[in-house]
Symmetry: C2
Subunit: 384 residues, 2 copies
């Protein structure tokens, strides 16, 4: 049985208090020194499972009524939040539990957060695209007077004054926005029904039951669960970090780092998201690593920021795809297609910008886990 | 009369030999120490005027025949090169000559290089746009396998695989290219006839005659022309620098410097070249400053590079305008308009990239003229 009280004290801050004071071992929460690996894992799963069930109740109470639609949506978001964490932690710390059981529950939670996430994804995408269209079609400020200095060589013609370069966008932007709204709202509605259907399915009830058990009981324990927490958990957390780090190293970060060499956007426009899949995989692995470290009380702000950059990457990449897809709609006006082309390029630039900021945020994130590694051999003693 | 021989020795390198050896005054060519301001100016104008007349002869010999079209084009380019320099120098060093005469000839040379430059400008623009279309519509490499890690949350849908984000461009790119080629080739042909017409006009012959005089005689001299070169020329060269520097300081360089904050391109796409006029003005002032410093033997590679960045800025800005203008052609296919939209955004990104590299190149360029300033009070002695 878990010393729930002891543990919850130090963890309510999500491990945010690690590193306070002259802590000899920054790589591990002090109050977990004497706990077993199984106790720490069970405590984390208990907390997430409780959150999940609370959100589920909130959803059931608010669903159906138009007034509380926002509450229901928030409840779904919180359910996904817990589901992602439970799923991730069951995978990373699989050796502490019954592997078959962990894989099964983890897989079901992936299915669930996927089904529940679609509606919000379409909503976010539409908002992102409409905001970009608004920004792109905004009227430029008064142009800088182009009175040329006395000996200005007249230079080649064709500059039709400051506002002309964005010309035509205003006309097509409105129609492009309407087209995107129609397409993405339809997709969103379908996703909403799919989510409700899933929440009513026996498949979901089986998942909810399994989570309910985690809220009250420790997961089926393997032998390693009874060993001291630090020696077992830190190497597994470090493994999760190494998987993410290796995936990052395989990315064309260097190009993204070059900022305005012009080549990056050109490439992303040409290849049209050639590397998006690899970047999305990194997003998932970095998130997995973050959840894994939550268990041992690591809170890494730089890594969280890097994760947000990867989320922006995903959003922009999918928004760009949506713009390109909308442009393939039959019988649209040229002005609409032109605006969608500019919009696509704008979102691909956001993709490149997200890669660039991730490239700058990721390096610092590497340090803490290396402390953790150093701490492992000596049983979590003497990190840094 | 100018000591042409004495001077031409040290200047054939365009002043590139300034700063050789333990030169006490890097701000001024040694052999000009004992020359008067008028002599130095006349020598420079003589050299440029001679170049102009040689290029004009080359053009007259090669014009008309299809075989020698390239030679004629090169001759025109060289004529413009000299015309720009004479015009610039007459303005910067106006106090040394008859002001009314200088303004009149300088203005005519601006007219001439403007008329002669159009054909080449359209040709460059077309090549730039076709190259960009080719780059943007190039087929992406094999996508990175998107096999997701075990607990990959399925995530929102809509990613239609790597190649889809660039989808549709291939189709429209060819038609967009054909459209641009038709429009810009027509404009180029018109510019060609206009240039030939100008070269046959009495207005041109008057300019050519005035330049011929500069090739053999010193310009009408003001009193200051007889004073020592350094004391008169360096302050005027410095003034030209200050004009450029002030115009640069007025630019939103900081934003251009932030590279991938995403905001820069978004702004340039939205404002659609709001600041292009100001940047073009800077381009002209920086070029003016460069020519002015050629007279006193300054050769500033960093400044030349900054100037090239400003040329790229102008080219990209006008290419973006041409893409936007082509998209306003009636009855074009949506795929064509979409490709032109992507192309427009791509060229606006090149504009932003050019601003960014200028921002990095400009600062170093400030240093040499400051040496020059230091050198002025003591009559060009003891710079640095």
């Amino acid at each position: 049985m878990v010393h729930r009280h002891d543990l919850s004290v130090g963890t309510t801050g999500g491990g945010g208090d690690s590193g306070n004071g002259p802590e000899p071992c920054p790589a591990f929460r002090p109050e977990l020194r004497n706990a077993t690996a199984g106790e720490v894992l069970a405590e984390y799963l208990h907390r997430q499972a409780t959150e999940f069930l609370r959100s589920l109740r909130l959803h059931d109470e608010s669903a159906g009524s138009a007034e509380s639609a926002a509450v229901a949506a928030e409840a779904v978001r919180l359910m996904r939040r817990s589901a992602r964490r439970i799923s991730a932690v069951l995978q990373v710390y699989r050796p502490l539990t019954d592997g078959a059981w962990a894989d099964q529950l983890s897989g079901e939670l992936v299915w669930l957060s996927g089904v529940l996430g679609r509606e919000r994804a379409y909503e976010t995408r539409l908002h992102r695209l409409l905001a970009a269209l608004h920004r792109l079609s905004s009227v430029p400020a008064d142009p800088v007077p182009s009175a040329e200095p006395p000996l200005a060589s007249a230079g080649p013609p064709g500059r039709r004054g400051p506002s002309s370069a964005g010309g035509g966008l205003g006309a097509g932007a409105a129609r492009a926005g309407a087209l995107l709204e129609r397409q993405l709202t339809l997709a969103r509605t379908r996703a909403h029904s799919a989510a409700l259907q899933a929440l009513g399915s026996s498949r979901f009830h089986a998942v909810a039951d399994a989570v309910a058990v985690l809220a009250s009981e420790a997961p089926p324990a393997a032998e390693t669960a009874s060993r001291p927490a630090a020696g077992v958990l830190l190497p597994l957390a470090e493994l999760a970090h190494r998987r993410a780090a290796e995936a990052v190293d395989a990315l064309p970060l260097t190009r993204a780092r070059q900022s305005y060499n012009g080549e990056a956007l050109a490439h992303t426009l040409a290849a049209g998201g050639e590397h998006d899949a690899a970047w999305n995989q990194v997003r998932l692995l970095v998130r997995l690593r973050r959840y894994a470290h939550e268990v041992v009380g690591h809170d890494d702000p730089a890594l969280a920021a890097a994760g947000r950059a990867l989320d922006r990457h995903r959003d922009a990449s999918e928004a760009a795809s949506a713009a390109a897809a909308a442009a393939r709609t039959p019988r649209i006006a040229p002005a609409t297609a032109y605006a969608l082309g500019v919009l696509h390029a704008d979102q691909r630039h956001e993709v490149e910008a997200a890669r660039f900021s991730f490239g700058r945020l990721w390096r610092p994130a590497v340090v803490p886990p290396q402390d953790a590694v150093a701490a492992v051999p000596s049983g979590a003693e003497g990190g840094r």
